[in-house]
Symmetry: C2
Subunit: 272 residues, 2 copies
C-alpha cells in the first residue's frame, strides 16, 4: 500500500493499469477493456440454459465480462459451462461467477472447487463477502491454486441494494484487506472508485441502468455517466436493462457506448 501522492491520483487509462496487475486475470480484464473499448459487464439473469447462451452470444461482442449466477439455472449441465467458455473465447470476455462466497475458509474452498458446479474449473473471476474475515480469501486462494487456472477475486466492498450494511468501516476493511492480497484480489464490487491510489484494482458497479430507478425487492439503479464518469468506478454491471430489452444486442451497444464515453471523459478530465 503506497501512500497517496499529494492531490488526487490521476485516472490512468485501462492499458496502463493492465501493466500494474500481478494477477493474470486482472491484467487480462484491463487488456480486454482496452481492446474492445468496453467497460460493460452483462449478466443474463434468466434460468434456462438455452436462453442464457443465446443472450450471451448476442451481447458478447459488446462486453468485457460476462457475469453468471450458475445456481439459478434450472437445466444446468457441464455442456453449458463448455459452451460459455467457447463463447468467452469467440467474443473475448472473462467469466465472472457472482457466487458471493460468504462462509469460513474451509467451506468456501469446497464450495469453490467441488459440488455440482466446480466453479474453479471454469470461472475467471469470483467474488466474496469479507464478513467471515480474511480466512475466506485464504480458502478461495488455495482453491484457485489447486485448480491450476488463473482466477481473480473481487471483494464486495459496497452493494447497490437498499439498506445494505456494506458501508463505512465495513467498506474500509475490504479496501485494506484487498491490498494485502495483490496476487489474488483484483478489485471490488463497489458503487464508486474506492482505491484510486491502487490502480491495479478494478471497480465493478451493479445496479446500473440508462435511467435511474429501482425494483420491488430493494434494488436501486444508477446511470453509467454517474457511476463511471462522476463516481470513479470502472465497469458497469447491467442485467435486466439489457436482457429485458426488445433488442439486447442494440441495447448492449448503447450501454457500452455510454459507459466508455464516461470512462474517457474521466481520464481526459484527470489528465487535462
Amino acid at each position: 500500500a503506497s501512500p497517496v501522492a499529494a492531490g488526487k491520483p490521476k485516472a490512468l487509462p485501462f492499458a496502463q493499469r493492465a501493466a500494474l496487475c500481478s494477477n493474470p486475470v486482472g491484467r487480462r480484464l484491463f487488456e480486454i477493456m482496452e481492446q474492445k473499448k468496453s467497460n460493460l459487464s452483462f449478466n443474463p439473469d434468466v434460468t434456462k440454459k438455452a436462453e442464457i447462451l443465446r443472450l450471451t452470444d448476442l451481447v458478447g461482442p459488446y462486453i468485457c465480462m460476462l457475469k453468471t449466477h450458475i445456481d439459478v439455472v434450472e437445466d444446468f449441465d457441464w455442456d453449458m459451462v463448455e459452451q460459455l467458455r467457447a463463447l468467452a473465447t469467440k467474443h473475448n470476455f472473462v467469466i465472472f461467477e457472482d457466487r458471493k462466497f460468504a462462509d469460513i475458509g474451509n467451506t468456501v474452498q469446497l464450495q469453490f472447487t467441488s459440488g455440482v458446479y466446480r466453479i474453479a474449473e471454469w470461472a475467471d473471476i469470483v467474488n466474496a463477502h469479507l464478513v467471515p474475515g480474511p480466512g475466506i480469501i485464504e480458502g478461495l486462494r488455495q482453491g484457485a491454486k489447486a485448480s491450476g487456472r488463473d482466477i481473480g477475486l473481487l471483494l464486495l466492498a459496497e452493494m447497490s441494494s437498499k439498506g445494505n450494511l456494506a458501508t463505512g468501516a465495513y467498506t474500509e476493511a475490504n479496501v485494506k484487506t484487498a491490498l494485502e492480497y495483490p496476487d489474488f484480489v483484483i478489485g471490488f464490487i463497489a458503487m464508486q472508485g474506492l482505491a484510486p491510489a491502487h490502480p491495479h484494482l478494478a471497480h465493478i458497479t451493479p445496479g446500473v441502468q440508462l435511467a435511474k430507478g429501482g425494483d420491488a425487492l430493494g434494488q436501486q439503479y444508477d446511470t453509467p455517466e454517474a457511476v463511471v464518469g462522476l463516481k470513479g468506478s470502472d465497469i458497469v454491471q447491467v442485467g435486466r436493462g439489457i436482457f429485458g430489452a426488445a433488442d439486447p444486442a442494440a441495447e448492449a451497444e448503447r450501454y457500452r457506448t455510454a459507459a466508455w464515453a464516461a470512462y474517457q471523459s474521466r481520464v481526459q478530465a484527470s489528465t487535462a
Copy 2:
C-alpha cells in the same frame, strides 16, 4: 420489539419457547429439542452422498437439526434430498441448509427456489447474511411462500471465524431486523444469546468442539459448556468434532449430553 423488563430476562425452557413461535418451523425445532433432549446440530461436511447419508443415519438419533452444505456434494442428485427427508422423518430432526444467502432479493429468490438444488423444496431452515439489506429477507420470504412449505430463516448475526466483521452495529442491525419479521426469522447464527427478551428466537453457535482450538483457515472452536451454559446460546453446531471421530454416534451422544447439561444448568440458574 417489547422493551426488556428490569433485570435479566429468565431463561425459559425450550417447551415454553415453542409456544411463543409464530413460524411453524421455529416452533417445531423447540419441540424436537424438548422431545429428544437435544440441542445439538450436526453437519456432515464431506463431499460424497453415500457418506453424508451414512453419517446422518448414525448421528440422527442424537440431533435436533441436520446442517447441510448441499453445494459441496460431488455426486448430488434428487434422490439424495429424498433420502435426507426420509432420515429427517425417521429420526425427527429439521434440515438446515447452510447456504448463507448473500445477494439482493431478486437473486436470492431464484437461488432459493430454482437451479439444480431447489432448496425451498426440501430445507426446513435456511440462513442469510443481512449485508445486502432487508430485501434479502423479503426475497427469501417470497420464495418460501411460493414453495407452499413451512420454512424458517436464520440471520448470521455473528460468526466464529477469526477477524470476522459480524460485530457491533452489524450484529445489532441483525437483531433489530429479525424482530421485524417474526413470521419468518426464527433466530440467529451467533456466538452467544443475543435476544433473551425475545425467546421465540433461537441461537445456533458454530465452531463448537469439546476442546477449544482452531483450524488453519481461521475457524475458532469453543466448548458446549461455554457456548450454551455461560454465553446463553441454544444450539451447538458440530461438524468435524463428530464426523472426524472414530465412532461418530458415540461422539454425537457425548456432545448431546454436554450441550443438554449446559442448557439445563442455565435454565436452573435462571429460575433458582
